[in-house]
Amino acid sequence: MPRTRTEGLEVDRAVVVSLICQTVREIASQAPDIMVEETCLFGSKGFLDSLGLVSVVLDVEQKVNDLYGLSISLADDRSVSQQRSPFRSVSSFADYILMLSAERQRG
């Protein structure tokens, strides 16, 4: 159901990392017990298949937008690229969200 947005909050990297890890665990049963920023999500060293990746990306997008009152879109042509995907690791995923959030908040 729609959630109340808390607009104006600054996007916090630690929160974003936590959201990513929590979402991955919800969707991927093969996710490691301990996930850190260096954990590879997608690609030759990752464990998400393309369907799992789509689900994670869309759920994280929704959570970030709900939490921070943003309307960022994580759709990216490089999504399934082995080398250049912004979703290849927890760290690159978080970096990507922070970059888009900063762009959005700058208007």
Partner: protein, 233 residues
């Protein structure tokens, strides 16, 4: 948010879109319709939102509204479309761009955003409007048919990509219907088209709704990636 299933019909201001929206309301759906202009009709259970399906930002706003007001989306009918009936040597590039923007980009954007909402409940029915002109390969409709061929390709491929989310994607290909879309098509051309169908009459909006009703039924979850032509093309 009263528990009724929610259906979106694009291009619902007039013609077939309006008819489908009215029938879905009568069938118990909360219906959201959209068009570039305000609707000049209203109905309890019907909400009209102005949006150009060819504009990504407007499409995103449309779906943000649907989510905020209803919290779900069960059915999306991609009805909005524009036609171009002309000899290929007389079609300006701008016409090509407009037809592709509305008929292809519009269907893609609305389907993508629909699926993003539908996957949250692991259920969805996307129905695209094509035309019997695709299999008949009618002369004088090159750009229109090219756009609807693309819609059929999107139907088939998106059905594969969205099946895992409980979402079906199908298309209906009606014969010619008395609407503004074919207002400027010479009568002889329409008669020629009808003569090539198995059922020698114009298509009616109720013919389209009959198939739509079947495709969006919760029991139709095993039917996806199909294009159903009406009139026997």
């Amino acid at each position: 948010m009263d528990g009724r299933p929610v259906a979106l019909v694009t291009g619902s201001r007039t013609g077939v879109g309006r008819y489908l929206a009215e029938q879905l309301v009568a069938a118990g759906y909360a219906v959201v319709g959209c068009s570039r202009q305000e609707a000049d009709w209203s109905s309890e259970g019907y909400t009209h939102i102005c949006a150009d399906v060819a504009e990504e930002a407007q499409v995103k706003n449309l779906f943000a509204e649907i989510w905020a007001r209803f919290g779900r989306l069960d059915v999306a009918v991609n009805n909005a479309g524009v036609a171009s009936m002309n000899h290929c040597l007389l079609i300006p590039g701008a016409t090509l761009n407009r037809v592709m923007s509305v008929n292809v980009q519009g269907v893609f954007l609305v389907s993508r955003e629909s699926a993003i909402l539908m996957r949250r409940r692991k259920f969805g029915r996307i129905v695209n409007l094509s035309t019997v002109a695709v299999p008949l390969e009618l002369e004088g409709e090159s750009v229109y048919i090219a756009s609807k061929s693309a819609v059929e390709a999107l139907t088939r491929i998106m059905s594969k990509e969205l099946g895992a989310f409980g979402i079906t994607v199908n298309a209906i290909g009606p014969g010619p219907i008395e609407t503004a879309l074919i207002r400027n098509v010479p009568k002889a051309v329409i008669e020629s088209l009808v003569s090539r169908l198995s059922i020698k009459r114009m298509c009616r909006p109720e013919d389209v709704y009959h198939v739509l009703k079947f495709l969006i039924d919760p029991l139709s979850g095993y039917i996806t990636g199909q294009v159903i032509y009406l009139g026997g093309a």
